[in-house]
Amino acid sequence: MFRLIGRHFKEAFQGIFRHFSSSLNSITAVTVTLVLVSLLTLIIGNVSQITRSIEGEIKIFVTVEEEIEDEEIPALTRKIENVEGVSRAEFSNKDTELDKLIASFGEEGKLFEIYREDNPLHRAFIVSLKEGYIISDVAARLEKIDGLMEVNFGGISTEEFLKILNGVRQGGYVLVAALTLVAIFLIQNTINQTIFNRRLEISIMRQVGASNSYIRQPFVIEGIFIGIMGSVLPVLATIFGYKYVYEAVGGQLVSGMLALQPVNPFAYYVSAFLVAVGIIVGLIGSFLSVNKHLRWRR
């Protein structure tokens, strides 16, 4: 078994060195692709993080109709919490609402103490959302509940912002997929070259009955090796580059409002992802190449 794998490794390395310029082209192509994939992944990762933190802070503010008795509040709470997309509804009575108003005005807020006896404010629910739900959808569903007066949320701008972030993320996924396909295509070229160089050996192997997987192995190893070689520079660039940027901006954007993913473990996760993409690209690229060649004739 080991003898066998040893043989295949030897052939794979011979393959790489016999046509080094072609291998180097492939490795460079993988490197360039993975640098772009790295950039996109770093962006996607941070956009997701920012999206999550914004979503976590979004609350919908709902006021309660005056006719609703205090005894009905627990039932109403359950009703709200049963709405799709709601994670929690926190009740706040008139006193608490006044306290909040007073606090929000600082020193001058004390003037509002005169309303303590005959409080004109409404009882309210502060509703938190589950992850991934669109605020205005949930708000619309809340508006249908009887006994609720007004439904307010952060406003359209937050929602628009989240939509943009989502768009960026999805665009990123598409680009990563496209780049991966390009890399697969480029690796195929090199493997095709190796196949051409070794066509005599392949034809003999086929003639004497070597199994298709046996014939395939050295090429697949070569492809994987190219993938791994191609991911070395991108991994270094990712770790050091991200660390540099992270430290340069102090780990956050827009003066502390949006925290970035910390270098450890994020940069290492991205690096592992790059190596995985390199390996998969090499594997698939070489596999497709050899299979095409083997199927070409029986």
Binding site: L4, R7, L200, A210
Partner: protein, 229 residues
């Protein structure tokens, strides 16, 4: 061993290379296949080794319906047949020994068994003294003997040779036929040899099947003199 039942083969370009061929070759036979260029001899060979699928009819070799063989089963099937071509197809960077061993390595034979078998084969093809030579250091006849050695390394039940003497002078050609005869007699291997060489056919008389325009026009048990090839 080999049984073709009403076999036809047309290529994609519309050429009907074989038309309604029925042939029966028994275990241990030695058969020549002759015919003018383009008469369908190589097509016949390629049907036997599974490279081509018949358009019509059944090709059966050693109990296997070759035309119906699944793609993934072809390699296993090929281990039971040896094939030799006019061009020797030896790997230049490997020695004679390594070239023969290669055929056994790639089907995962144990190393010890390989060494032993290659030595046996070298004795059969009478090239023990050339084991360490490279193909470029051998004559054409010697190279063809290495190819035959490689083809029989795995004890095939059927040995097919497509014009094995095509590039050789009469003397070397005789040696090749004698080697094939030896293999045929000593290990009972069925041998099918495609040839253009009427002298060989007349000298070493054997069953001779003649193709013309994709038809079998004669199949003589006794072999021997045939006016036109």
């Amino acid at each position: 061993m080999v049984h073709l039942q009403n076999v036809s083969k047309s290529y994609k370009n519309g050429v009907n290379a074989l038309n309604d061929i029925t042939i029966d070759i028994k275990d241990g036979e030695f058969v020549y296949v002759i015919g003018e260029t383009g008469s369908g001899k190589s097509t016949f060979i390629k049907l036997l080794d599974g490279e081509l699928i018949p358009t019509k009819g059944i090709v059966e070799v050693n109990g296997v319906n070759v035309g119906k063989l699944r793609f993934s089963k072809v390699p296993k099937y090929r281990r039971n047949i040896g094939v030799v071509f006019q061009d020797y197809r030896l790997i230049e960077s490997k020695t004679v020994f390594e070239n023969i061993a290669f055929a056994l390595e790639v089907i995962n034979k144990p190393r010890k068994e390989i060494r032993q078998r290659v030595r046996e084969v070298l004795e059969i093809i009478d090239l023990e003294d050339k084991a360490k030579s490279f193909p470029s250091e051998l004559s054409g006849g010697q190279q063809q003997r290495v190819t035959i050695g490689r083809a029989i390394a795995n004890h095939p039940k059927l040995l097919i040779a497509d014009e094995p003497t095509g590039n050789l002078d009469p003397e070397r050609s005789n040696e090749i036929v004698e080697l094939l005869e030896k293999i045929n007699q000593e290990s009972g291997t069925t041998v099918i040899m495609v040839t253009h060489d009427i002298n060989l056919v007349n000298k070493y008389r054997k069953r001779t099947i003649k193709f013309e325009y994709g038809h079998v026009v004669s199949d003589s048990r006794e072999g021997g003199y045939i006016a036109h090839v």
